[in-house]
């Protein structure tokens, strides 16, 4: 602390710019008579209130280290120490640069040390200053957690006075930014200590306590689960929050209480069909999206609402008819408005600042609204210029907006009808493809997932996308480190291969390369494996395609099939594999790859007797294809398989309780009778 006292070169260099009076104030801090020092500090206090220039001057002149020194000296009178803390608090109220200077002088440990004093007035002055420093964006939050004794001590100070309550809760609310912070505060009894403050007679204390709960509960199951069981003055916490959402309460309070309940709901602590969610939280959040609210409130309201209803279709349905939400959101795209540009520069600046935030919030909310219900999707796409807005959102400079726009597009792409109509009309695939060329993974995942839907067989966008060289792009996605991107890449290829031309199929196999294909078949991610098998199955459809692919890659494919059937895999994976085998059995020449492979035939036999009907069905289908009458060499195949005991098995299966399996076995048996 003493080290940064009196840095002479600095003082001299700026001396000329500084008024003599400021100089005088600092000099008095060094007076030999403690009484004069005290008077000097008091005069300084009165001089700096509301005077940013004066504050900056004093800081430059080195007042801060001296004030901190006086504050920490045990020989200083309590009054002097308190006045020092007050002046420091006042300096902190200035610009961000002031805060930086204060933090650089190690004001935080000094003030935290001060909290150990027993005098309440002094403690309050220290806390007030700490509060101002900590709520500034330039202060590293971590400084609150460096000393492990600080949080428990702050908790213990909560009972001291209304002021300590206000400042401490405000510090917590601003400094709880990560799950680790949540845990630290939770473990030190934040919930029990702060809950009673929710019914404090002081508005400020109530508000800050509420904010604490919203940051504590955010994506935190442990906190949320604890909160539902907390009683405040005999009342459940959720009911206290509900009361704070009443429409005559300050907007900030309504919004924050709605956030608390949203987080508790998302953590599973409150059911989504609970009245406090359906009839209170949701309507409150919709109100926050209305034009009457400030832009910041509208952003927060929309984001919170999107988060609340994301997993629940019923909430989505209710929100979609509440207060014209869908058309209300359209207004989010009208900033800066043409009026503001002409009339008011300040307003324009404000609008511009929030325009991106508003747009991304609206996209998020649309995405959430439309994620399940077809009618809602229709309503969204019918909103004025909606598709145009998404299209231009996809190419906005702000990454946040792009991501939200593609999320929205993805949500809407789940609709068959929209894929057929509005998606095609607005050629959304173009900006989407552009987005895929160069974007962070987060965006890529969403964009490629959307592309999967656009490549569905019935989608009219499929053709133009194919022509735009999408195959290479998708194949490169399958090599990504991110499982989500690999899935999306292979999934899109699978969709593309469905009932595709021979040319496309060949192109896919060529671009992907058999090596990559087989690498994917041993992918640790089951989803990737399933979609790869799906791709294979789609490639191996219609006889000429089967024969062609099998003639060039038959050996590897049979190897892969064997490997999977022998490995530890889920029923779904094995079923998919048996279906591939059945497709191979449908080929003209490809059949022989199975017929000549006794090991494979034994495997088929095994699965025909499997306990799972799905596997039995797929295996029987395979045999049925092999013994199909009208094809060349069917007689020999029938004989061979009969010799291997397949007829007995088929016969047994005609008695199966599953009607599908029974039918399939009977059809197969008929091949022998004909």
């Amino acid at each position: 602390m003493m080290a940064c006292l009196l840095e002479a070169p600095l003082r001299i260099s700026v001396l000329s710019e500084v008024t003599a009076t400021s100089r005088h104030y600092v000099d008095r801090l060094f007076d030999a008579d403690p009484q004069n020092v005290l008077q000097g500090v008091i005069d300084m206090k009165n001089a700096v209130i509301g005077n940013n220039k004066q504050k900056a001057n004093l800081i430059v002149l080195g007042a801060v280290p001296r004030l901190l020194y006086l504050l920490q000296q045990s020989s200083s009178s309590l009054e002097l120490r308190t006045e020092c803390a007050v002046v420091l608090g006042s300096l902190a109220m200035g610009t961000e640069n002031n805060i930086k200077s204060l933090v650089d002088c190690h004001i935080i440990p000094a003030l935290l040390q001060g909290l150990l004093c027993s005098d309440l007035i002094f403690i309050e002055a220290c806390l007030r200053c700490l509060r101002t420093v900590f709520i500034s964006p330039v202060t590293p939050v971590q400084l609150l957690y460096t000393d492990p004794t600080v949080i428990p001590h702050l908790m213990s100070l909560l009972s001291r006075s209304r002021h300590t309550q206000e400042y401490i809760t405000q510090i917590f609310a601003h400094c709880c930014k990560t799950p680790e912070h949540q845990t630290v505060l939770f473990n030190h009894g934040a919930i029990q200590n702060i809950a009673p403050l929710l019914i404090s007679p002081s508005d400020k204390v109530r508000m800050q306590a509420l904010k604490c709960f919203s940051v504590l509960a955010y994506e935190n199951t442990q906190v949320s689960m604890t909160l539902v069981n907390v009683l405040v003055d005999g009342e459940q916490l959720s009911q206290v929050f509900v009361r704070m959402m009443q429409r005559d309460k300050p907007i900030e309070m309504q919004l924050t209480a709605a956030k608390c309940l949203t987080y508790m709901c998302r953590a599973g602590a409150i059911r989504t069909d609970d009245n406090c969610i359906v009839l209170k939280t949701l309507p409150c959040l919709v109100r926050m999206c209305s034009k009457e609210r400030l832009l910041e409130e509208r952003v927060e309201g929309a984001e919170t609402l999107a988060y609340l209803m994301e997993p629940d279709v019923e909430l989505q349905r209710i929100a979609s008819v509440t207060d014209h939400l869908v058309s209300m959101l359209a207004d989010y795209f009208k900033y800066p408005s043409s009026v503001s540009a002409i009339t008011d520069i300040k307003r324009l600046d404000h609008d511009l600042k929030h325009a991106h935030e508003l747009r991304q919030a609206a996209f998020k909310l649309y995405a959430s609204l439309g994620s399940n219900d077809e009618d809602i999707r229709k309503k969204i796409t019918e909103t004025e210029n909606m598709m145009d807005r998404i299209v231009s959102g996809l190419s906005e400079s702000s990454i946040k907006v792009r991501l939200a726009a593609v999320r929205c597009l993805h949500s809407l792409s789940r609709s068959v009808q929209q894929l057929r109509t509005s998606f095609h009309d607005h050629a959304v695939w173009k900006p989407l493809m552009k987005l895929l060329q160069n974007a962070p993974d987060e965006v890529l995942v969403m964009a490629s997932s959307t592309l999967c839907n656009l490549l569905l067989e019935f989608s009219p966008s499929k053709e133009p996308i194919l022509d735009s060289g999408v195959i290479e792009l998708l194949c490169s996605l399958t090599q990504s480190d991110s499982p989500a991107l690999r899935v999306n890449g292979i999934w899109a290829l699978m969709n593309m291969a469905f009932q595709a031309d021979q040319k496309v199929k060949v192109e896919i196999v060529r671009a992907l390369g058999t090596e990559q294909l087989f690498r994917l078949l041993s992918d640790p991610d089951t989803n990737v494996l399933m979609k790869t098998l799906g791709l294979l199955r789609n490639l191996l459809s219609t006889r000429p395609h089967i024969d062609q692919i099998m003639s060039s890659h038959g050996k590897q494919i049979m190897q892969a099939v064997t490997l999977i059937l022998e490995g530890e895999h889920s029923i779904e994976v094995k079923e998919q594999t048996l279906c591939i085998l059945a497709n191979i059995a449908d080929g003209n020449t490809a059949k022989e790859l199975i017929m000549t492979n006794d090991d494979m035939l034994q495997k088929i036999k095994y699965y025909m007797g499997h306990s799972n009907v799905k596997l039995q069905l797929a295996a029987t289908f395979c045999i049925s294809n092999l013994i199909w009458n009208e094809e060349d060499g069917s007689q020999e195949r029938q004989d061979k398989l009969k010799d291997m005991g397949f007829v007995d098995i088929l016969h047994k299966l005609t008695q199966a309780s599953d009607p599908n399996l029974c039918d399939r076995a009977k059809t197969a048996m008929q091949q022998y009778l004909a």
Binding site: D248, V321, D323, H324
Partner: protein, 618 residues
Amino acid sequence: MDSVELCGPAVPDFSTHPGLAAGVAVLQLAASRYLALSEQEKELNQRLRSLYPAVSDQETPLPRSWSPKDKFSYIGLSQNNLRVHYKGHGKTPKDAASVRATHSIPAACGVYYFEVKIISKGRDGYMGIGLSAQGVNMNRLPGWDKHSYGYHGDDGHSFCSSGTGQPYGPTFTTGDVIGCCVNLINNTCFYTKNGHSLGIAFTDLPPNLYPTVGLQTPGEVVDANFGQHPFVFDIEDYMREWRTKIQAQIDCFPIGEREGEWQAMIQKMVASYLVHHSYCATAEAFAKSTDQAVHEELASIKNRQKIQKLVLSGRMGEAIETTQQLYPSLLERNSDLLFMLKVRQFIEMVNGTDSEVRCLGGRSPKSQDSYPGSPRLFNSPVHKASNVITDHLCFPLFPGFDSNYCNGVSSSKGHTSAHSHKSCPPTIPSPEPGVLNGSRGQQTNVSAEVEMEVDHFSNGVSESSSNGFLNGSSTHGIDLEECDADMEVDSAQSKRQLCGGSQAAIERMIQFGRELQSMSEHLRRERGKNSANKKMLKDAFSLLAYSDPWNSPVGYQLDSIQREPVCSTLNSAILETHNLPKQPPLALAVGQAAQCLSLMARTGSGSCAFASVDDYLH
């Protein structure tokens, strides 16, 4: 007397019940139905009162059910006119049918809300819920015509005075509860479905709309909830928001542009109020500390204070005497005032509080029911309960406040032009006849038309009065100091007896009554009929018709609170002779604000609902 009770269900007239012969069972059924009904009615009254406190149910009754008179013939009503069913053919839109509520929505609601539950969607569910003005064709669904607005279940569209709807909300069907909220502040309307607000449906609504429902196909049945049951939607919460908005508007209203102007005005008002009510010490201190001049001699204030104290402690005889002494010509010139004071004196005699009878009675004047202190502030709950009397003398909120002052014309004459009188009828309407049912009729029989013979009653009265208590009749002169000194209320409140129980006092009272009677006749001859005076006298004399006047239907006159209007009228009259305003500017301002609010209610400004003057008087 609370106005709401007026609209309570009439007791079923069992004598005309067709099933009387059938026996007791029917009667019991009817009785239990009546009980259930009155339970519901009670809940309804309670809810309406708490939702719409600013609505005067006498001036503008609230909708409570569908009107059996204001409906198309295809509509059937049941369940106390709350259930609506369709009974037409329902083949084409020409078979549509609507029903309106019994009353239109009063603007003083501020925010009005009702709900309709779909009991059955019937064949096609062509149901419309909404609003329409009186006279709109009932052979239609709400929304299709001018001044008609509706939300339709089959397509979820809103119809704003047009045959073609606009996409508005979801469709609705059996089991759904649809709410309709009219905001009379910004003249908009929104609907709710199962407790969820669907957003604004209509703007620029005209005034005086009726809740309306329309049905179009067989089997359609809906139930209305005008407040009989709790609402599904949280309308109170919505109202809270608007109350806050209106109050914020009031709080932010710009006042006095020049520095200190506002404060000076407030100080003036407070000072004048103190002087008016003769709080001389306080007034002096206040004037001194705020550096103001008092526009009345201190002695004069003290005189008024003396008289007021006499009136308020029930010592009317002395009050009249003192007034005549201090203001010799006042009562001579103002014979109506004198008459009123004398009538009050008569009442105080009956009460046993007037000095003349007190001297005759045995009880110490101190122990009598003396008035507990100074004039009340503008509004005490007791005041409200006593609204029944006439509008002029007992304007409840402000002693002596005359309704003519609503325009701020502080004429020194009692009555201003007919014009202002017409535009601003008194806030407190006179009670409807029959309010006091049986007892009022009885009282009228006793004292109406025929000149009352006081003697006629005296027998009955003396029977109930005891004959003792003559011993204390020593004529000790009661001076004011004694009265000033203690004003404690007699907590024991032993049996109250006519004129304090003294025979001599009763005789004096009867004699006084005769004098009063002849004064009344004299006044009538000289100045023509005066219905207010006549009623006053009639009411006062009616006290003698009961063996226990305090517990009689006219007993309210004996309540000490009734001294207040007399007191303030006298005070105002005295002030007028000094060319001072007959009521303090503060009361005038408060009265003006109250009048403005009721004027707003009448002219359809809904914000009056959330700006009660009482809220600002703590």
